[in-house]
């Protein structure tokens, strides 16, 4: 390109630029957007709507740029009218082009009988706006968009022949081994639940079996464990802060020296924050009064094989999910009535906190004072039972504590994904919950 041509091109571009930008500047600053002036990478829409008022359809859709020919466009929208059963129906056909290739949709609008032409155009404009969102969402415009639905609607407004009852059955097995070690465990479980905002009921049960075999110097060391659990919970909602209900649980466990145990516990709960904010913050205080019937497998250190225990417990749980991070802390105290020296105090907490851009800190820990191990067997545990943790051991405390700090700097906004030779961290995570 010669110098003269370059000069001409520059003049032309500038003139065109002023001409195009002119209306923009003239309108500025605040009056509402009259459509068709989105940012540079916004979808370029070519709208065809024979017989309809284009200007009015495009009004207020500021997150796309309307263009006047198909060639310039990245999205083509055609609005047509067709005969349908019992009346007429508008069909809005959205076809993606270039970067939006294969990105297509069709929306429909059927005018209400007796609607004015104004109402029809307004409804079509709203439908057009909804249909264009998927394209704008893929551009930088997305950051400035929001979708609002302010109406309160009950989550139970559905047609449900099961009346919110859900039942589930499950079974799991795990085996592994090598020449001198083999382990296996099996489990079966069921659950039934019905959860509505007014009432919650959940019952579940599981049976577990485990066996480990070690070979050491010709000798075979075998160790097995068996446990059964059953739980039921019923809670009635009493306003935004209070709930009342009860727990029933039963269990049998070789680890805990329990032949069988049944607990009945009515309970009441107060949430300092309204329950409706539960996904953001909760501070729940739960009081439980419990009656426990126990039969032990082996005689205990207190020379008992059966007993009936009355106890109470108070638990405070704080859960926060805030823009700075998350916190979950729980403090629980419990004791038996026949001897208040048989008590337990537990504190657990997990906090992750972003101190500053790139610098995050997390702490996770817990500890307990334990003075209620009424079920310890008189006979004690063997070395294998200790090392393999097959039996509960006498202790007056336990704790765990973990702390981590991580600092990241550099191109923290990079969005590149490069899967070659596997992802950085790699691995598969499997979570199984009952």
């Amino acid at each position: 390109m010669s110098a003269r041509q370059t000069f001409l091109a520059a003049v032309l571009t500038t003139t065109l630029g002023i001409f195009l930008a002119g209306p923009l500047f003239a309108q500025a600053p605040p009056p509402p957007q009259t459509g068709g002036t989105g940012p540079e990478d916004a979808p370029k829409v070519f709208l065809e709507a024979p017989g309809l008022d284009l200007a009015r359809l495009q009004k207020d859709i500021g997150f796309v740029t309307f263009v006047t020919s198909l060639q310039e466009s990245t999205v083509h929208v055609a609005i047509t009218l067709r005969k349908a059963e019992g009346g007429e129906e508008y069909v809005l056909t959205f076809t993606g082009r270039d970067g939006f290739k294969d990105d297509n949709n069709v929306l429909y609008y059927r005018p209400e009988p007796g609607g004015t032409p104004d109402q029809v155009v307004d409804a079509l404009a709203r439908t057009l706006r909804l249909g264009l969102v998927r394209y704008a969402a893929k551009t930088s415009v997305a950051k400035q968009m929001s979708v609002d639905f302010e109406q309160k609607v009950k989550p139970t407004s559905v047609v449900d022949p099961w009346h919110f009852w859900v039942f589930s059955l499950g079974g799991n097995g795990f085996i592994n081994g090598e020449q001198s070690v083999s382990m296996r465990s099996f489990n079966g479980s069921f659950s039934a639940s019905r959860v509505t905002p007014e009432f919650k009921f959940r019952a579940s049960g599981s049976a577990n079996y485990g066996r480990d075999v070690f070979k050491y110097e010709g000798e075979e060391i075998r160790s097995t464990s068996e446990s059964y659990y059953g739980n039921a919970l019923a809670v009635k909602s009493l306003g935004e802060h209070w709930s009342a209900g009860g727990f029933v649980s039963g269990q049998s466990s070789t680890y805990m020296n329990l032949d069988r145990q049944l607990t009945l516990a009515p309970a009441i709960e107060y949430d300092v924050f309204p329950y409706s904010e539960s996904t953001k913050r909760q501070l729940r205080i739960l009081y439980k009064l419990g009656l426990t019937l126990v039969k032990y497998r082996e005689e205990t250190i207190y020379y008992k094989t059966t007993e009936t225990l009355f106890g109470e417990s108070l638990t405070a749980t704080l859960e926060l999910v805030r823009p700075w991070g998350t916190a979950s802390v729980s403090l629980e105290g419990s004791h038996y009535f026949h001897n208040v020296k048989f008590y337990r105090l537990e504190l657990y907490g997990e906090i992750s906190f972003r101190v500053w851009k790139g610098l995050s800190f997390n702490i996770d820990g817990g500890g307990s004072r334990i003075h209620d191990q009424l079920g310890l067997p008189l006979a004690g545990a063997s070395l294998e039972e200790v090392l393999l943790r097959r039996q509960q051991l006498a202790t007056s405390f336990d704790y765990y504590f973990s702390v981590g700090l991580s600092f990241t700097f550099g191109s923290i906004q990079s969005k590149v994904v490069n899967p070659r030779f596997g992802a950085g961290e790699g691995g598969v995570s499997i979570s199984i919950s009952y």
Binding site: K143, P155, W165, G250, R260, G358, L387, D398, V428, I432
Partner: protein, 437 residues
């Protein structure tokens, strides 16, 4: 099940019977129920969110203009959410909107990115927004859409983004863990660093880590202590050749008491072929990786083959398949390796995961692996103590290893999961979730 289990069950049934009057409470009509919106909600789009790492309760409280179902086959739109790590250590969320039933002609893909240090709240807010924007393509066909407002506030103009770090990202971290009770205590602490540069054309990962841990048991007056140390340094450089081919080299150094390694070095050029284009990696991959490596090693104790140090050549080939589809997840890998100085020193390993959402409410999973091991050339000549065996402190001699896990779950009843009720604590839904990074 033993008689104990049966008894526990009987108690439970009895308890359920006692509680039964509470189970059908009279639900009072809320004073001001907007009849019309209730009617619209009944016709709202049915959505199945297929995502294990998402905060579903938050999604359900923030997006109330659709109905949530627990089974994919019941849904009008199946939202399959997969994630991958980005070059900056953040996550790329790919939301695949798969229309079905009356909406089978509507499909869409939306993406959403988080930074590495984004908090949970920021992550879920961004995800909810991406979900809302994507769901509008379906909601636009239902009458409830007349109650939605799509707002747009034009942004102030900003200059083009300039990356002064040229795609480099650095990270330092440290952590400690301590636990104990009267007769047992454990601690572990360590640190790590990494430096990465990832672009579409190349990938460079450098990292190092060190960790020490110790168990202490008290048993009949004696103290049993065991300590483990491990440290490693590694580097990987990969350059992209085509949509299917890549080549690179990895170097590493490691030390481990578990594996009797004082210092093991490795230098390995490698080449990879992906049957699917790399651009589909979040949903589909079948990668074949060939690696030849040179391994100078110094041991902590003399090995079974009476060596204190040696330098060996080795080659390995692995194939890994990863699929994330509507019907479930498949991940499988087969790998083999041998030394050049003695072809009998080899290992072959097969690993697989299959999780299928078979039919309404029925899902199964199988995870398994098996290995033939004939290359434990680093095992120490001296035997192990009983504690070392039971606590799995040191690697044992073996010619094979296997593990398998399997499960089945069947759920029936109400298909809707719209309700969030946090009273007396919520428990996450039961089930198995498998995520592949």
């Amino acid at each position: 099940m033993s008689h104990n289990g049966v008894r526990v069950l009987c108690y439970l049934l009895l308890a359920a019977f006692v509680l039964s009057p509470f189970l059908w409470p009279q639900e009072k009509k809320a004073e001001q129920v907007d009849q019309e919106i209730e009617a619209l909600k009944k016709l709202a789009v049915k959505v199945y969110i297929d995502c294990g790492s998402c905060d579903l309760e938050y999604i359900k409280t923030e997006i109330t203009f659709v109905n949530y179902v627990r089974d994919r086959k019941e849904a009008d739109v199946h939202v399959l959410i997969t994630t991958q790590t980005t070059g900056s250590g953040g996550r790329e969320y790919t939301l695949s909107f798969l229309g079905q039933n009356g909406y089978s002609d509507v499909k869409d893909i939306q993406k959403y990115y988080t930074e590495k240090t984004a908090t949970d709240d920021e992550v879920r807010q961004g995800l909810v927004k991406a979900l809302k924007l994507g769901l509008l393509s379906y909601v636009g066909r239902t009458p409830i859409s007349s109650r939605l407002a799509v707002n747009y506030t034009p942004a102030a103009k900003t200059g083009p983004f300039v990356d002064k770090w040229k795609s480099w990202i650095f990270s330092l971290s440290g952590s400690g863990y301590f636990s104990g009770e009267k007769s047992y205590s454990y601690y572990s602490f360590g640190g790590s660093f990494s430096a990465n540069r990832v672009t579409q054309a190349m990938k460079l990962n450098l990292s190092g880590s060190w960790r020490r841990s110790e168990d202490t048991f008290q048993y009949e007056g004696t103290e049993i202590r065991s300590q483990r140390d491990s440290a490693s340094l590694s580097g990987l450089y990969v350059f992209s050749l085509t949509e299917h081919w890549s080549a690179g080299v990895s170097v590493s150094a490691q030390s481990s008491t578990y594996s009797n390694l004082d210092l093991a070095l490795s230098f390995a050029p490698a080449v990879e072929y992906n049957v699917f284009p790399y651009s589909q990696s979040t949903r589909r991959q079948l990668r074949l990786l060939y690696r030849a490596s040179l391994n100078p090693t110094r041991y902590r104790e003399e090995t079974l083959y009476a060596k204190m140090r040696e330098t060996l050549w080795k080659e390995s080939l692995s194939a890994s398949l990863e699929l994330r589809e509507k019907w479930g997840t498949v991940s499988a890998s087969l790998s083999g390796a041998h030394y050049f100085h003695d072809f009998k020193k080899y290992n072959v390993e097969l690993f697989g995961i299959v999780q299928l959402n078979l039919y309404k409410g029925l899902s199964i999973y199988v995870i398994g692996s098996g290995a033939r091991i004939h290359d434990q050339i680093y095992l120490p000549k001296g035997g192990l103590t009983k504690e070392e065996v039971l606590l799995q402190l040191k690697q044992l001699q073996t010619t094979y290893s296997y593990f398998a896990a399997f499960g089945v779950s069947f759920t029936f009843g109400s298909i809707y999961t719209n309700v969030i009720n946090p009273r007396f604590g919520s428990s996450g839904g039961s089930g198995v979730h498998i995520e592949i990074d």
